[in-house]
Amino acid sequence: MTTTLIRGATLPDGTTTDLLVADGRIAERGAAIATPSGAQVLDAAGLVALPGLVDLHTHLREPGFEQSETVLSGTRAAAAGGFTAVFAMANTMPVSDTAGVVEQVQALGESAGYATVRPIGAVTVGLAGERLSEIGAMANSRAAVRVFSDDGKCVHDSLLMRRALEYVKTFDGVVAQHAQDPRLTENAQMNEGALSSELGLKGWPAVAEESIIARDVLLAEHVGARLHICHVSTAGSVDVVRWAKARGIEVTAEVTPHHLLLTEDLIRSYDARYKVNPPLRRDEDVRALREGLVDGTIDIVATDHAPHPEEAKDCEWDHAAFGMVGLESALSVVQAALVDPGLLGWSDVARVLSHAPAAIGRLSGHSHSFEVGSSANIVLVDPASSSAFSRDRLAGKSHNSPYLGMTLPGSVRHTLHRGYQTVRDGVVVDAAEVAAAAAAGVTRG
């Protein structure tokens, strides 16, 4: 296995250091480390080193929707964005509601090698919201599932949600709720307000999200369980979560990059690239979400990477699929929305995009603060660069990015997963090389 010397990287705390990566771990840290023979040297002058990013909310689409994405292509997209671990949502076909499916997804991730793939298990059988899936079997499988979600659908039945929260406690798991009252959002197309009324698109009221979050934090308090809220999108939701945390309820929340940067005004174009669930909201929501992330009400940024083939977006708004790809652009969007305006520093970025999601998902031994001995999941970012986001930045199968043509700061120069490179000089490393490196790592143990 290659030994890598990272020369002159700036750590999240602002200090500059060399990092020696050997046998998949950070072997040495300090100034002017001598170059071991045979080591490759990465010149990291001017680059920020972050712990490998962890995405708690990714749709890899396999099995079942391989025309949109596969575990291989989705983890390539992850690597391109600086992610070394992704939690794969359960809305596959078949649904990830049995030990067999989650073990298969995990195995596909291991053999591809681009990122650590942690499957999410469905809360209910077939995401149908009627009865609990075999949560225990998934938790005790080789995939050791800890996050359970019907994402794409809300666990709407109050009793079932209560039972899920209670049952998942048994396995130190967490329910990640997609908060959307189904009756209030029947055929809903965009945020409800003056603009949806003008455009004639069926409204998706903020209360449809906020009322479910309010119910669920109270349920979590009542049964003493952990609750995670997926893709919080409204100012009211931030208020509810803030209230719940002040009350001591064990709730965590995520926000997507697109809800931190984009607003509903883009929908005037009827361009279905902007169609997403939950929908893009108002400017005041974007500001509240940024504030919530800064003050810790919102714990993490998660991409909700949702690949779709071209035909699912190249059509009338009503007929288009919900979702946008986000792995490749996430870090740039966070830099644009929060770092460059001075709201977050790089150590906060490390927290919201790596430490905290790893903790919520019970992913141990992955994220770190560059301590010697840590698993070498590292991303090197050039924060000074700026460019028009283009298709060549997209490494997955699908191109439904809302950022195409938009100028965004920052670029991922190198990604290391367990010590081997998945991105080199801004280019995703060849699949065979990555798979071989991953296999070598497994053999070495």
């Binding site: 409800e192 307000g193 003056a194 603009l195 949806s196 009324s197 003008e198 455009l199 004639g200 698109l201 409204g203 009221p205 174009s269 009827y270 035909e311 699912a312 190249d314 059509c315 009338e316 708004w317 009503d318 007929h319």
Partner: protein, 318 residues
């Protein structure tokens, strides 16, 4: 003008110019030979993803009176799931050499998607999209009001100071939206009257007065124009109002309310009407009613729109 997608982005002078061209077209319709050679050799496609015999026929008559070749392309029920996509349909029409596409679609924004797609290089006329807009209906309504108010001296006039009350299912009405934007542009003052369930969220930020009580609104505003919107019976099932009887009693233009109007107020309805629900027969057939004129004026307006979009060198005008 390259396309006609909405009235919201129509400038005042462009709107008045269209209304004036429609006056010319209206004169042609009173001749023995109603046909103009203007669009000879041009092909207009009526692309209807939603049934509407009235609107389609109106556009067809308009195009034929301008000597265009007309193709009716009924794509009802077509969708990504059910059959051919909008993209494939558009590319098919492009291959057939369509110069203009008149599109009616249940999905809001479909005409704009078509116009900006690059799938087809034709002028696009929105003939009603979802609950978004129905610009030719608003133009024909404005034309009808202008005629009633100004008669032969209508040319060049706007609707400054005219009070227009639009009553009924504003929430689901593309007619109400297109009328509001156009009437506002032309200087009219618009009031919406509807049960609160049928007022769009956020409409309080629009340039319109919103009232719930029809009798009180009629007594206070004394409108020049009362426009009744069609109520779709299935709205009851979605709990927008309890029964049609209750709706008719509260928001219908019944005989008593007709008599309470100013004698020179005009009564409009975009059709088709539910007689006895949102409008009584007596109101619909009264001398104050413009329902039949609206149909005739619809042809003139659509001739004006097709003429403006398709005559001459379209590329040079865009």
């Amino acid at each position: 003008m390259r396309h006609l997608l909405s009235t919201r982005d129509l400038l005042r002078d462009d709107a008045i110019a269209l209304l004036d061209i429609a006056e010319d077209m209206s004169e042609v319709q009173n001749r023995e030979v109603k046909k103009l050679p203007t669009l000879r050799g041009k092909t207009v496609v009526n692309l209807f993803f939603e049934d509407s015999t009235r609107t389609r026929t109106s556009f067809e008559v308009a195009a034929k009176r301008l000597s265009a070749d007309v193709i009716n392309f009924s794509a009802k029920g077509s969708s990504v799931s059910k059959g051919e996509s909008l993209k494939d349909t558009a590319q098919t029409l492009a291959a057939m050499g369509a110069d203009g596409v008149v599109i009616r679609h249940s999905a809001s924004g479909a005409p704009q998607v078509l116009a900006q797609s690059g799938w087809i290089d034709a002028g696009v006329v929105n003939a009603g999209d979802g609950t978004h807009e129905h610009p030719t209906q608003a133009l024909l309504d404005a034309f009808t009001m202008r005629r009633r108010l100004h008669g032969d001296a209508a040319r060049g006039r706007d609707l400054d100071g005219v009070g227009v009350m639009i009553v009924g299912d504003v929430l689901h009405s593309r007619v109400a939206r297109s009328n509001l934007w156009l009437l506002e542009t032309l200087g009219a003052h618009v009031t919406f009257v509807a049960p609160a369930t049928l007022v769009p969220v956020g409409a309080s930020t629009w340039p319109v007065d919103i009232r719930y009580d029809l009798d009180a609104a009629l007594a206070e505003v004394r409108p020049d124009v009362v426009m009744m919107l069609r109520i779709q019976q299935e709205r009851m099932n979605a709990a927008f109002f309890p029964t049609t009887r209750e709706y008719a009693r509260q928001w219908g233009l019944d005989d008593d309310r007709l008599l309470a109007l100013r004698p020179d107020s005009i009564v409009m309805h975009p059709g088709p009407m539910n007689r006895g629900l949102e409008i009584s027969s007596r109101a619909a057939d009264s001398a104050q009613s413009t329902v039949i004129e609206q149909v005739a004026n619809g042809v003139s307006i659509r001739m004006a729109v097709l003429y403006s979009l398709l005559s001459g060198d379209r590329e040079a005008r865009s």
